[in-house]
Amino acid sequence: MNKTVNQKAWFLVLPVLILVAFSAVVPLMTVVNYAFQDTFGNNKFFWAGLDWFSDMLESERMWSALGRQIAFSSIILAIEVPLGVFIALNMPKKGFWASLCLVLMSLPLLIPWNVVGTIWQIFGRVDIGLLGYTLDKLGIDYNYTQDFYAAWATIIVMDVWHWTSLVALLAYAGLQSIPNAYYQAAKIDQASRWKVFRFIQLPKIMGVLMIAILLRFMDSFMIYTEPFVVTGGGPGNSTTLLSIDLVKMALGQFDLGPAAAFSIMYYLVILLISYVFYTVMTNLDKREGN
């Protein structure tokens, strides 16, 4: 039977809508207004039409920042998701050690972004940092301020250190909710460890895993503080990710128009990808419901 959808409940979210209007909608409208105008400060604006958008679409700088951003997000997702699931699979199921693991896993998540950046900035230094000093003594040429690969390796390892726990904890919660009957059935069928993972555990944690991927994608796509504190976007522009480039453009150079056009495009990409994730997630839920 098809049930009609009653949309009246939406009026109940009106207070939140008013709050969001001030914190998000008004600034967003302002950004749209700036994107079509030029300013030399003093609140004087001149109509610029679509010029900033064409400039940005042709800008080598924006495309390379986008390329680096996509590379960064893909790499950290490719490491954090399998690693997080692997850790969750190997964590103790109950008792003292399970609690201890959970506490230890949560620790990196509690540290503020700029502190994480500072920790790794010092940790990687060749003169006083444990990591940098050790690598240097081992004869590995590691200097994140001058070497492209070292800078990328540092920000990626830092992100993996900071956020793999989130994936692991979500996957762990998903694994804990699988009823024992499934494992018993698998045992009767003499299913291998891989088959248990592939046909029982993975489908059952798919929902939370999608949430983990969405959260990690969003966070990594908007990342600013951590790489900025560690590398400042360098060496050269090699770790200048989208938001770092955007801040440089808007606040460093005070190019409000181009920066506004840039942020609208940035926002559209995030909106698109989040919508795709959200749709996949809700469809997965519905399929599970059926």
Partner: protein, 90 residues
Amino acid sequence: MEWMAWTWPTAIFFLIIAATLIIFTILAIKFPETPRMGVLRMETTRGDRLFIALLGSAFVNLAWLGLLSAPQWGALIVSFFYAVAVFRWV
């Protein structure tokens, strides 16, 4: 309000968006609907289709601006047909 740097074109743009949202809200209350399965093999309501149409139109406009040197109203025409297709088949 001066700091928001309003212009007529952007104000009209936001008024149209706001009017569309209000119309769709009224439609949803007056004529409740059941979600339907479209070509994307997912259930969509009118609101979903509006969102897909608007978001897609933004990308159509950007692609037009970046790839072609034709006047921008051409992108609006393409977006219109795209939106009609979305409401019909998605």
